[in-house]
């Protein structure tokens, strides 16, 4: 996590995006045979908006709060039980995916193609951790684990990557303009 100087605005935004990731677990869009849950969408959005370090911090705070028994996980209480439970692999996957997607976006200076490829990589990372975890929990073979824990979600993920791209494109300008006028730095800027 970034140390000093204290960037209050980033800190607040990362916390609120962590809350959005938590809320994403509750938002279900009932389309098609497999309902779409928006949680990983917000992980991707946070990664692109915050960059690797703050996005990882955001997800880490979410997981840490949950581990310590704060009610942040969808599907009721349980704290650590969720992290160790069947969905645990996906949750840890979010952490790594957030960092990697943020890193890719930073390295390629937010170029659209790179960001989309980054999100595909990020989604694959989530499954790369989530599916073996599922295998271990349920004692399934790889083929069956993929059939239960990955294939049904792929169409939804493609839609979510497209949506994440559209959303980030739509709100990114606000991120930069929103910060300028408020923080007393305006005297440094030339009055054009």
């Amino acid at each position: 996590m970034p140390n000093q100087p204290l960037d209050l605005h980033r800190l607040v935004l990362a916390s609120l995006l962590a809350a959005l990731i938590a809320v994403g677990g509750y938002i279900v869009i009932p389309i098609g045979p497999v309902p779409i849950v928006l949680q990983n969408l917000f992980v991707l959005v946070a990664a692109l908006l915050l960059g690797s370090r703050w996005a990882a911090a955001s997800v880490a705070v979410y997981l840490l709060a949950g581990a310590c028994g704060l009610p942040v996980f969808a599907g009721g209480g349980g704290g650590l039980g969720h992290l160790f439970g069947p969905r645990g692999g996906y949750l840890f996957g979010f952490l790594i995916a957030a960092w990697v997607v943020g890193r890719i976006s930073e390295t390629f200076r937010q170029r659209p193609v790179a960001e989309i490829i980054g999100m595909v990589v990020g989604s694959l990372i989530i499954y790369a951790i989530g599916v073996p975890w599922l295998q271990m929990m349920f004692g399934l073979g790889l083929g069956k684990a993929l059939a239960v824990g990955m294939y049904p979600f792929i169409p939804g993920d493609i839609v979510k990557i497209a949506a994440a791209y559209a959303i980030v494109k739509g709100v990114r300008p606000l991120l930069h303009s929103g910060r300028r006028p408020d923080h007393g730095r305006s005297q440094a800027e030339p009055a054009e």
Binding site: L6, L16, G69, G76, G178
Partner: protein, 248 residues
């Protein structure tokens, strides 16, 4: 839907949050190694403590509903996939005894961990959990524990706010017949975009308000009051965990 803190004055409520977190971690690690007898004992302990904390069993059950369904799936899947002797000789019920046992142990462990987690959730003030996390992070270098604590506080504070906003947005979209849209991409962006915009506005205002209230690096820390009861609790938990390890 969200199970949160219930204020109360029971023994469980009064234990120092740092000790509760340590106990939670200890219990969770130990129960990952226990077999049936230990699990039974741990389960009984969790239920007794929940009762002592005046947490109604129905309430707990509601909170863990979906989790229990998942655990049921684990038992079923294990029973079917593990090779061994069948429980009942019937082609429609292919479960094996070994599989059922393995599934029950795993599900039992997860259930115990979840119940202890629930116990901490229900009996500990969020601000105390936040302060305890800050306390545990203090010795770890390169982690600004005060900022982490602030982020945890804001996360807990804003989950219900954002949840309400998303419900409001969803209603507004339904009122304008969003359900007629077949394109899932449109439906997601129509919900996600305004939600994110509102989050940005909130973040801007929140940052200003925190600045106006002098938020900075040097803050008054939490006042810990650890009494003999707390040390007794820690001793009890350690002893119980040692017992669990011994019988498994």
């Amino acid at each position: 839907m969200i199970i949160g803190f219930h204020s109360g004055r029971t023994v469980v409520h009064r234990v120092d949050a740092r000790i509760k977190l340590a106990a939670l971690a200890l219990f969770s690690l130990v129960s990952l190694r226990t077999g049936f007898p230990g699990l039974g004992l741990a389960l009984a302990a969790a239920l007794v403590l929940l009762a002592a904390a005046r947490c109604s069993p129905l309430h707990c059950l509601r909170g863990l509903k979906w989790y229990l369904v998942l655990l049921g799936c684990i038992v079923a899947a294990r029973a079917v996939t593990t090779p061994g002797e069948p429980v009942v000789a019937h082609p429609w019920l292919p479960g094996t005894r070994q599989g059922l046992e393995a599934g029950l142990v795993l599900a039992g462990r997860l259930l115990v961990i979840a119940l202890f987690g629930l116990l901490v959730t229900v009996t500990t003030r969020p601000s105390h959990i936040r302060a305890a996390v800050e306390w545990y992070l203090r010795p770890i270098p390169f982690i600004p524990q005060q900022q982490v604590a602030t982020m945890i506080g804001l996360l807990v504070r804003f989950i219900p706010v954002i949840l309400a906003q998303s419900a409001e947005l969803d209603d507004a979209l339904r009122a304008r017949a969003i359900e007629q849209r077949r394109n899932p991409l449109r439906r997601i962006t129509h919900l996600g975009m305004p939600l994110l915009r509102r989050t940005f506005v909130t973040a801007d205002r929140l940052a200003s308000a925190m600045e106006a209230r002098c938020y900075g690096m040097e803050r008054t820390g939490h006042q810990w009051r650890t009494g003999t009861g707390d040390w007794a609790a820690l001793g009890l938990v350690t002893g119980f965990c040692a017992l669990l390890l011994a019988i498994s």
